[in-house]
Amino acid sequence: MAIEIEKLTKRYRKCQRSDRPAVDALDLNVKKGEVFGFLGPNGAGKSTVIKILMDFIRPSSGTASINGTPSSNPEGRRKIGYLPENPFFYDHLTAEEVLSFGGKANYMKGRHLTQCIDELLSRLKLSHAKKQRLRTYSKGMVQRTGLALALIHNPEICILDEPMSGLDPLGRRLVADLIMDMRRNGQTVFFSSHILSDIERVCDRVGILNRGRLLFCGDLKKNISANQSLEDFFVQLIEKDERKFDG
C-alpha cells in the first residue's frame, strides 16, 4: 500500500468543547500507482488528514503511514511530493532557487538537478520567469511553482491539496495532464479537490469525507450509474449524512 490510515482520529483543542473530532476513526488505504481523489465539503477534515500524513500535525489516536513508514519519520518523506493548499514561498527567491532547494533537500545534485529544474519549469510554462523573484508571480504562477516543487524529485507518491485552486482553465488542464502522466509512470497520486469534474476525469478511486468520517470509498465507475454525475452522487451522499447527523 502507498498510504495506510488506520483508526485515525484528530481532535483540535478548540473543538474539544463541542466533542466533535475533525477526523473520526478514519480507515483508508491507497494502492500503489492509483490516482485517489479525496472529496468532501469545507471543514470535512480533508486538509487535516493530509497534514497528518505530512506530520505537520499529530493524530490524537490511530496511525498513518506512507510506503510502510510512519508519517512521523522525516526520511519517509523522501519519496513524497507535497503541494499545500495556497502554497507560499520565500518572496525574494526565484523559482529556480526554490526548486534547487527542494531537489537538494531530496538528495539530488549537480547537472541532473539543473536538467530536472529546466524540464519541469518548461513543462509548467514557467521557463521565462525562472530567474524572477517569486514576489512578482501571479497566483497561478505560484501554484504552478508549488507543483514543480512537489514533482522536482520525481516522487513515488504525490499528495496534492487542492492542486487546481487558483488556476485558470488552461492551468487546470495542465495539472490534470500532469496527474495523468504520473499515473502512466506508475506514480501514486492522492489529491483533494472541490472541482468534481476534474476528479471524475482523472481519478481511479475516490473517498468522500464528511464531518471527519469516510462516507464512501471506491471506484467511481462501479458505483455511479451511467445517468448520474459525480456531483449528484456527492450531494446526495452528503445530504443524507447531514440529515442523519441532525437527527
Binding site: K51, F56, I80, P84, H92, F101, G102
Partner: protein, 267 residues
Amino acid sequence: MDKIWLLSKVTYKEGVRNRILLGIVFIAVIFSAFNLVFSQMFAHDLSKVSVDLGLSTVSLAGLAIIFFMGINLLARDFEKRTIYMVLARPMARWQYVLGKYFGLALMVGTAVAILGIVVAGGVKLSMIMAPQHIPANYSWKIFILAICFNYLGLMTLTAMAQLFTCLTNSSFIALLVTACSYFIGQNVELVRKGFLEEGDVNPAYYHLIKIVTWIFPNLQAFDMKTAAGYGLVLEPLALLWTAIYAICYIGIILMLTILVFQRRELS
C-alpha cells in the same frame, strides 16, 4: 548537516535581499557620518565618544535587524505557511530550527561586518581629524573584539527571538517578549549588583532577582564600548568565559526551541 546548511543559505538569501535590511544598513551608514560631525563637538575624549557612538550604531542596527527582520522572517514561516515547503522534505524539525538559526546568524553577521567596517572608517577619520585625543593605549584589536562580542550578544538575542516565535502564533507578541528580554538582559547585572550585594533586601525580592539573573542572559557582559573607547586591557580569560557563557546560553535556548517545536502543531 547538509540540510541545515541548505536551509541556512535559503534563509540568508531571503534576508539579505530584503529591502528592510538595506534600509537599516543605510541608516547606520548615515549615523556613522553623523558620528564624524557629532564627535567634533566634544572638547575631551573625542575618540572615546567616536568609538562609543560607532559601536552603539552597530549594536542598534543589529537590534533593529533582529526585531524587524529576524522575527518577521521566522514568524512568516508560520503565518504564511512557508514552513510547509521546508518540512515537506525529508528534513527533521531540529534541522529546521538549526538551519533557520544559522541563516539568521549569517544574515546578522554580514550586516554587523559591513557596519563594523563603515563605523571603523568613521572612527579612523575622526581620529585623523583630532589626533591629540587618541588614547595612548588605543587598540583596533579591542575595537574588533568589541564588535565580535556585540555580535555574540545579538546571537543570544536571536536565539531567544526564535524560541519566542516558536512559542507564540503572533510575531507582534514574539517581538514584544524579545524586546522585554533585551531590556531585562541589559539591566540584570545592574539590578543584581544593586540588590544582592547590598545585603539588606526583602527575601522574596532576593529570590526573585536571583531567579531572573539565572533565566535571562546578562547582555551587559557583551558590551565592551568602554574598553574599546579608552583602549583598556581586556583579560583573555574573562573574554573566554564570556564567549563560553554565550555559546552555552545559545545552546540551551536552541535545545529548548527544538523541544517546543517538536511538539508544535503546524495547522
